[in-house]
């Protein structure tokens, strides 16, 4: 078996101690995914596994054998940005950019959750079928991604432009 990383088959590491984050950064040199805290608290290492957002720092790479991993490198490239990446540029969704790959991957996973009706802590109606990604909803759903530069207003505006009600 292999881990499919941005559509490329990579064999799982022999040493089971290697985290998915270290596999990406140290062995595959996919350095878009960032290491912030290495303990689940910042979201900088967020990647998509089979479309779901997870923290690669708390993931043992061997546990993801057979799964599909998408990192920020798999979403867009210079000259061919993902619409959300373009929106981040447009809305000043970053300053230093360190948290940005994690924000982008997290927002894409978050939007898929909202589309299938996953409620959040601030959703007034647990049973609603559709989620309106208001600023309050976006802030709550993105609370696992910290930004030391405080670019939150731009991050929320970018996400709302691409995934908010107006975009649908």
């Amino acid at each position: 078996m292999a881990i499919l990383i941005n559509a490329q088959a990579v064999s799982a590491p022999d040493d089971p101690r290697v985290s998915l984050l270290d596999l990406l950064r140290e062995q595959l040199h996919l350095t878009g995914t960032k290491k912030g805290c290495n303990q689940g608290a910042c979201g900088a290492c967020t990647v998509l596994v089979d479309g779901e957002r997870v923290l690669s720092c708390l993931a043992l790479a061997v546990q993801y054998d057979g799964r599909q991993v998408t990192t920020v490198e798999g979403l867009g490239a210079p000259g061919d940005l993902h619409p959300l990446q373009a929106a981040f540029v447009e809305h000043d969704g970053f300053q230093c950019g360190y948290c940005t790959p994690g924000q982008i991957c997290s927002a894409i996973g978050m939007a898929a959750e909202a589309r299938r009706g996953v409620p959040s802590h601030v959703s007034p109606d647990l049973e609603a079928d559709a989620v309106d990604l208001t600023a309050e909803e976006v802030r709550e759903r993105m609370s696992g991604n910290l930004c030391r530069c405080g670019a939150y207003n731009g991050i929320v505006a970018s996400i709302q432009e691409i995934f908010g009600e107006a975009a649908q």
Binding site: D15, P16, R17, S19, N38, Q39, G40, G43, T46, E52, R53, V54, L55, L58, A59, L60, V62, Q63, S106, G109, M110, E113, R116, G117, V118, P119, S120, H121, S123, L126, E127, R139, E140, R141, M142, S143, G144, N145
Partner: protein, 328 residues
């Protein structure tokens, strides 16, 4: 991290066989265990991935609900039957951790997550009876704002950090276990222990035992709420939390279930408050008296006395809101 052998299992039998070997640890989503292994607080020699075992969520014959131990926290919170019949459980899960962590975390792992006492984590700098039995507890005379006010011992004043477990405790869940000698079922209220003089043991789980699933009895009639009080609006552990189900008929409390988080070494079922309330008037005065009864035995440490008042006020507020919707 110390070296370990990794295996994935496809059946509970296989898991239990491998889990019985000395030094073995089961692995769920890894959101707690991988962190503890990296800090070398956990040093398993073999890690058995149990995320391939049952993650099914479905109705039971008696009209309750069964949650496979490998079900992810998001999957439980978003499940139609959970949202409709056990909204307290959805709400509690959604108030915990972050979207990413809830996607990884499993039911089994959430039950067995360890305390967030900072001294427990500080292997080099602090003494901790939970990490190193007999060493002493630096939290008792240290910075203990997040620590326990109920059921603590001299040996340990840690709290259990889970939100989900508070809801399961209020809802009378049962935890289903499997060991080499077969299966057994433990009520959620008895699953976690108080520290007493053995704080290194968090639960009644025996070495090598596997959690296979958690079941809920048929839903109660009343209205429910989960209220979490924390230092920031999102992505923070509870200072205190309350899970409540209240049924009011003719302005009297027909039924009530209450559990508190962040106050003790285990999710705290508020049996005293429930007994004080059941059959009595659904008034603010009664709610206040019940809260006083529950917290009468509370013992503050230097920095956490605020939790006692906070727990009382939150209990009164939550019950008041639940009663309001049912006034005749």
């Amino acid at each position: 991290m110390t070296p370990f052998a990794f295996s994935r299992v496809a059946s509970a039998d296989e898991a239990v066989r491998l889990g019985a070997l000395p030094g073995a640890k089961y692995l769920g989503g890894g959101t707690n265990l991988v962190d503890l292994m990296r800090e070398t607080l956990e040093r398993p020699t073999s890690v058995v991935d149990v995320t391939g075992l049952s993650s099914d969520i479905g109705e039971t014959d008696d009209g309750g609900l069964s949650l496979g131990a490998a079900a992810r926290n998001t999957a439980v919170a978003e499940h139609r039957l959970v949202r409709r019949r056990y909204p307290l459980l959805s709400r509690a899960i959604l108030s915990g951790a972050s979207g990413q962590i809830r996607n990884m975390a499993t039911v089994g792992g959430n039950l067995l997550q360890r305390t967030r006492c900072a001294y427990f984590y500080d292997d080099d700098g602090a003494r901790c009876n939970k990490r190193a039995p007999g060493q002493g507890c630096d939290a008792v005379g240290g910075f203990n704002r997040i620590h326990a006010v109920l059921g603590a011992s001299e040996a340990c004043v840690a709290t259990h950090p889970s939100d989900m477990c508070v809801a399961l405790t209020a809802l009378d869940a049962q935890v289903h276990l499997r060991g080499q000698d077969g299966g057994r079922t433990v009520p959620m209220v008895d699953f976690h222990r108080l520290p007493e003089d053995r704080p290194e043991i968090d639960t009644v789980l025996r070495p090598g035992e596997l959690i296979t699933h958690v079941s809920l009895p048929p839903p109660l009639a009343g209205r429910s709420a989960y209220r979490k009080v924390r230092d920031r609006a999102s992505f923070a552990f509870a200072l205190i939390s309350i899970g409540a189900v209240l049924t009011v008929e003719d302005d009297r409390v027909a039924d009530v279930r209450l559990a508190l988080g962040g106050v003790a070494h285990k999710p705290w079922r508020a049996f005293k408050a429930e007994a004080a309330l059941r059959g009595g008037p659904a008034t603010e005065a009664a709610f206040g008296a019940a809260a006083e009864a529950e917290l009468a035995d509370a013992r503050p440490l230097e920095h956490n006395a605020f939790k006692i008042e906070l727990a009382k006020r939150t209990m009164v507020a939550v019950l008041g809101e639940l009663a309001k919707g049912q006034a005749s």
